[in-house]
Symmetry: C2
DNA sequence: ATCCTTTCTTAACTTAAGGTAACGAGTTTA
DNA sequence: TAAACTCGTTACCTTAAGTTAAGAAAGGAT
């Protein structure tokens, strides 16, 4: 399926409409600002040590954050349609601690936070929008953290199946395992255990 | 030690100064708004199921978030001097999923987000301030989440000793254990293992 | 169709965490 | 003072995750 520019604009505006009501003009400013980019599966968007002020809004596809610990990839997050990755570097210009890559061919909006100051001065509602989005993302990430902490790997897996069943379908199991904080072997065993429990 | 009102004001303003430069008037607005409250150790500030729009800034003492899972407390966070707890309820008015209590006699600034709208209209810089604080907290909590995920319980404990050595001193071990995602017994064993490794 | 890479599974062994129980040191309460 | 309570430790057994190694299954590439 091909996404037209209009459709992509609409996906973004629908997302923003959850937070504030924007005038035509404000919508146009945002659309003009938004840079739509396509990436092939496997593309690395951000490397450890790299400085980048870019934030990514996923229109289509899936991106993933991971740390390299020794020679091992430790996956910490997946972002799919209408989700936003806002790396810390955007704020304080520190080098990234982790990598970001595309697990699928993806269409992303790449938002650079360079021009923000003038823009916020001219359109204060955009500052409000950013505040609300940030507060919402913070709250969601806090809740996700809490759930992770109070759960066993098995509960985390079952929770994932419930909350984001799409992920279990589209993401390789060894990435899921890493995301759950266990090895692929453990996840495989766990799945066998769970089947046994059901019957 | 007794904190005077002036000292408490200053702690708050020092914290905010990390984000924006405020005029005298803006500082005064914030100080007038800030409600300083004292709580005795053991006081429960927020209960599961309770709706509250209050955020807490810790001037002195220590507060803790925990979930009740069956009959067990699962501790997910500690907040000490100059840290901020911003429960999700403040945003979307949903009932709290967790409890908050005081682990020590504490002095907190209780900020209700009720009056925000008019205030932001009058002092746009306060909206910017909230955006920056929120982005910063989000980024920090994201990093904390990542570190938790990519670490074993032992690494988490060692990391805690390094990053927040104060916590290990002032917080009972069974709360720390819960925070690390393990039982008090496991933490006790782990500590013994670690001592053995050093020697 | 065959090869090759990627992904998932299984197995045997090691390590560490959970569950339960008991003990002891230090406080608080009666 | 004694009893009760809190907190940390230890012990024994069970459960599950890590490690290493080896195959099986699925997909792509030539």
């Amino acid at each position: 399926m091909q996404l037209t520019n209009d459709k992509m604009d609409q996906i973004l505006l629908n997302f923003l409409a959850k937070y504030v009501i924007l005038s035509e003009e404000e919508q146009n400013v945002i659309i003009d600002l938004a840079i739509f980019k396509s990436f092939r599966k496997g593309t690395i968007l951000l490397k450890e040590g790299q400085r980048s002020k870019d934030a990514y809004f996923v229109l289509k596809g899936c991106i993933r954050c991971y740390y390299m610990v020794d020679t091992e990839e430790k996956t910490t997050a997946f972002y799919t349609e209408s989700e936003t990755l806002n790396p810390p570097g955007a704020l304080n210009n520190t080098p990234s601690e982790y990598y970001v890559d595309c697990l699928e061919d993806s269409i992303l909006i790449v938002a650079s936070s360079e021009t923000d100051e003038e823009l916020f001065a001219k359109y204060p509602i955009l500052e409000k929008l950013c505040r609300l989005v940030s507060e919402d993302l913070h709250s969601k990430s806090q809740i996700a953290f809490d759930n992770f902490k109070i759960s066993t790997p098995e509960q985390r897996y079952l929770n994932l199946l419930e909350i984001r069943p799409d992920l279990a379908q589209r993401i390789p199991q060894y990435h899921l395992a890493s995301y759950l904080g266990i090895t692929p072997q453990s996840l495989s065993r766990m799945r066998k255990r769970l089947v046994r429990k059901v019957s």
